[in-house]
Amino acid sequence: MGVVAVFAVVLGFAAFSGSPEPGRDPASIAAGEVAPAAGELPLSNTYTTVDGAPQDSAAASKTNGLVVHPIRETPVHDAPNGRAIARMESKQIGDTWLPVIAEESGWVQVLLPSKPNGSTGWVRSADVERAQTPYVIAVHLKSMRLELRRDDKVVGQWTVGIGKESAPTPTGRTFLLGAFSDSKQKYSPVILPLGAHSPTHDTFGGGPGTVAIHTWPTSDVYGTATSDGCIRVPPDALDQLSEVPLGTLVMIDED
């Protein structure tokens, strides 16, 4: 059989296979490039908006440190046994870890990484691995201070830079979503994205306006409100914060 004939078979299949299935490739969705098909639940990640997600009703309360990792792709519901509003994947920026803010038999309520800020959802307990983080990160906007607490004791505190008036750092309860190095962003060797988004930048630099903790090349930014929403911390703070488990609460207040 000639090579040409064999390739004809391959190309014949290509021609008859029709258009590719829309929205089925997780990598594309994760990169924010492909919208879900009609009737399909959106993923909940830093690129997406999930409609109908219950708002966090206790944004100033800390939890007892329970964090969960979805061990399989699982639907996010608006209540235990309620309506499905999104899908959660086991990996986003590395492994997905989410803080638990409430629990009922067979279900945990978690903070979501998707828009809008303060979104929560319920996932099945059977679909998550549980772990405990001893840490809480507290960010006080007025005093521009960041505290790292371990078992309720302050183990580090720094003066930090926060969002400017026109692009403020959002308040409320969010969490460490990931830890990555980005060769295209030279200002910080490690960037720690949070589950929150800028309230004023719907997109920023080609991204979805994700707020992050990272350092900055010059120290004059600490103690100023000059960022576009991110929290700029000194290098030694970043070193310590990079060791803190994903899913750890980041509590941002006006104080």
Binding site: N81, I93, A179, I191, G207
Partner: protein, 306 residues
């Protein structure tokens, strides 16, 4: 001597599809968001599209089973490209399973047995003597384990998806050729990836990858050789071995954890629910909770607000 193995597989798979259509008639669509208990042994999507082979479904809970013996006879000269001994799929109320024996996929992936199972909202994968490109495969992979073998081949084992109604789909093995999507075309190949290139060249029956320095070079070489336009965000070809979907008796898919923890009664933690707005971390669950792991710093590109 190299043969046109990928193209050969295309013809072979085409033959499989035709034969299967004759054997099974119209192949049923795979229900994605229902609790119908179902299973199938083999399917493919992308450049080559194969509807699920040996698809069974039990809409009424009754046991159904299909078995397909080796199809080497009909593959002629392409017998070596895709082969298996016996392919079975069965389903009944709350359970489904599929098994493929003596699997040999494109001379790349071999296993004595690939068994994909699902039972009352829980499930998994068993592989006996499995290997790909000389790497042994784990016998009972944890859910959603991914092996990136090169920029060009990706293997996902025991991928699990929970559906809205609590039913579960377990996908046994998914082999992706040119996974696409998250690849940075400018990334320079690692030495391990370079080592894998000859196998890809062998697979394609040519060497489009000679002198390739980056992921983009390889993709361009391969797609150029095939003479097709490929959407770089989508896999060129996906082949699935084993899929099992089953419903959960209580709709929550948590039969397993219920059995382990009795919903927290008797451990002294279960009655604290609701006394504050935060989480009761361990209330109602499986005893001591591990300390959360330190994060791994990954290479990624996500523009943040600066």
């Amino acid at each position: 001597m190299n043969t046109k193995k990928l193209a050969g597989a295309g013809a072979a798979i085409g033959a499989v599809t035709a034969v299967t259509a004759l054997l099974l008639g119209t192949t049923a669509a795979v229900a994605q968001e229902t609790a119908s208990d179902s299973a199938f042994g083999l399917s493919a999507s992308g450049l080559l599209k194969i509807d699920p082979i040996s698809y069974v479904e039990s809409p009424d809970g009754k046991h159904v089973e299909k078995q397909l013996l080796g199809i080497g006879d009909v593959l002629g000269p392409h017998e070596g490209d895709i082969a298996f001994g016996v392919l079975t799929a069965e389903a009944q109320g709350g359970a489904s399973e599929t098994a493929v024996t003596e699997l040999n996929l494109l001379q790349l992936l071999r296993a004595d047995l690939v068994r994909t199972y699902c039972n009352d909202g829980d499930g998994g994968l068993q592989i006996v003597k499995g290997s790909i490109l000389g790497h042994d495969l784990p016998e009972t992979p944890v859910p959603s384990q991914t092996l990136d073998l090169s920029p060009l081949l990706k293997l996902t084992l025991n991928d699990q998806v929970r559906h809205e109604d609590g039913s579960l789909t377990v996908t046994g093995i998914e082999l992706t050729v040119l996974p696409g999507g998250d690849q940075n075309p400018d990334r320079v190949l690692t030495s391990e990836e370079r080592k894998a290139l000859p196998q890809l060249a062998d697979l394609l029956g040519t060497d489009p990858t000679a002198g390739a320095n980056t992921v983009g070079d390889v993709v361009t070489g391969v797609t150029g050789k095939l003479g097709i336009q490929v959407d770089p965000s989508k896999p060129l070809q996906t082949i699935t071995i084993g899929s099992a979907t089953c419903s959960a008796s209580n709709g929550n898919g948590d039969a397993k954890s219920d059995g382990n923890n009795g919903n927290g009664d008797g451990n002294g933690n279960g009655d604290n629910n609701g006394d504050n707005s935060g989480a009761n971390a361990t209330a109602g669950d499986t005893g001591p909770v591990a300390t959360a792991p330190k994060p791994q710093v990954l290479n990624a590109s996500l523009p943040v607000t600066g």
